[in-house]
Amino acid sequence: MQFKELIAQETNNICEQLSSYEDRHTPFKELFLTKDTINFGPIKLLDRASIAMRAVVLFLTVLTIYFFSTLDYQSIDVLKGFTDTFVNFKTMFLNPYAQRFTLGEAFYNVVVTLGLAFLTTLIGGIVALLLGLLAAQNLAPKQVTNLIKGFVAIIRAVPTILWVLIFAVAAGLGSAAAIIGMSFHSISYLTKAYSESFEDLDRSVIEALMASGANWWQIVFQAVIPSSVTYLLSWTFLRFEINFANAVAMGAAAGAGGIGFDLFMAGGFYFDLREVGFITYLIIAIAIALEVFSTNIKGKLQKSI
């Protein structure tokens, strides 16, 4: 109790001291008293970064002017080229018509392409879930995370189509190579996305569960995944949309079948612009449907979880 009285006395003492401060002349008071102006240069200093920035802009301007002044059009009539392209677009998009296949067959091929996208996203998601856990800095030792992150960064740096063509050496051009190559790229993409979602969970939460005796798998399933499940699902869905677009391209480029192959045949083999238009509309419709669906799902998830 003696101690409490002392603290009370000390508080009084501080208050007295504070009131005596008011009469003193402090440097901050001078701030109000002096009215002299100091001569000052421009606020933005010409440092190395801004000089480099200006040099880059100047260089690009000069390059652009030089490029247009020396461009060789050869014998192409630019105006005619534009109008011809426009006419092509007009037949493509204003008169879409499919004569080689029925609407039912077209839908069947869309389903094949969707299946390709679904399968590769599924394989990618499952493998990436495991790799993502090992690549998250709050869950795995630093050496392991660095190794995995470096590895998937290299895979991601090479475009999907290249991976498909690389695997086509072993599997031959076709759906097998497309699935392996697209899954490969999906794994690396989703590993990065998942591991970053996992890292959102504070290390201290993991510490708290470890301190109560929980082991690694329990922490992963009871804390890490519940905390990041909305992110995981939205990343997976984003990858599904990307894989759908990839699957269309792979159908054409790697002969993986589906609507992409039809598009390739219509455009490159039969030169049927109206069919190209028809297929493009179909793909756009599916893409919009996917987008609407995923936005809905995300909204619902955020509300419920």
Binding site: E10, S204, L209, S212, Q218, Q222
Partner: protein, 261 residues
């Protein structure tokens, strides 16, 4: 025999001397011990050495007769179930409900698979429910933890520690982010837990007055050394100066002089 015993515990981070320097003390069942000291004195390290969240460099810690430093992973897990821990920032899984967070305290007792699937027995659930009720959270039971106030979150933290059936609860600055009202509620709960359930409470505190009011015993730490260990009534202003060192010299010097006079 004492419930918790530290013998010559030393901890160095990166070969630098010394987060903890030759710390020895023992704590009995049901004691309420406050550890005070300036920031960076080694309070948190000391607390985390007890459940081996931090490995000691040398020395020996025994909890309930078990020497913790040599335990295998599996037995360490078992030891940790006896030691609850609560934190300044609560460290709950925000997206889960109160009851789910409380039941997390049971994970240490469960097999990996049962824990992964979140299958808790009827007994565990009713125990969790009773604890939640005692702490006055039954209305929040199915709320997500990110919808709770700070004081409520800390009570969930206490419930999570209690559901472990611990012998010791370690509290790392439990009231540092709470307003005075919520702080009082939390400290009252902690004191009741130690008095009525016989659970040892070891709490890191920044507020000397709170430590004086609630503890059976105060341990003052400065630069990794125990500089005071005794009952609150024995704590003099001079010793507070020793604990908090030169940072607060001016204020404490005045206090000390007047105390002497």
């Amino acid at each position: 025999m004492a419930l918790l015993e530290l013998k010559n515990v030393t901890k160095n981070y990166n070969n630098e001397c010394c987060a903890l320097d030759n710390v020895s003390f023992s704590v009995d069942k049901g004691e309420f011990v406050s550890i005070i000291g300036p920031s960076g004195a080694g309070k948190s390290t000391l607390l985390r050495c007890i459940n081996r969240m931090v490995e000691v460099s040398s020395g020996e810690i025994s909890v309930d007769g078990v020497i913790s430093s040599s335990l295998s992973k599996k037995r360490l897990r078992k030891l940790r179930t006896k030691i609850g821990m609560i934190f300044q920032h609560y460290n709950l899984v925000d997206r889960l409900t109160v009851i789910e967070n409380v039941l997390h305290g049971r994970l240490g007792y469960k097999s990996t698979l049962a824990g992964v699937l979140g299958r808790y027995s009827q007994e565990e659930k009713s125990q969790a429910y009773r604890i939640i009720e005692i702490l006055g959270l039954n209305e929040q039971m199915y709320k997500r933890c990110d919808q709770l106030s700070g004081g409520q979150k800390q009570r969930v933290g206490i419930a999570r520690a209690l559901v472990q059936n611990p012998k010791i609860i370690l509290c790392d600055e439990p009231i540092a982010s709470l307003d005075p009202n919520a702080s009082k509620v939390i400290m009252d709960h902690l004191r009741n837990i130690s008095k009525e359930m016989g659970i040892t409470i070891i709490v890191n505190l920044h507020q000397v007055e709170v430590a004086l009011k609630y503890s059976d015993r105060i341990i003052g730490v400065n630069r990794g050394k125990v500089v005071f260990d005794g009952a609150p009534c024995d704590l003099t202003t001079r010793q507070i100066r020793d604990i908090y060192g030169s940072e607060s010299e001016d204020l404490m010097f005045d206090l000390g002089e007047r105390h002497a006079g």
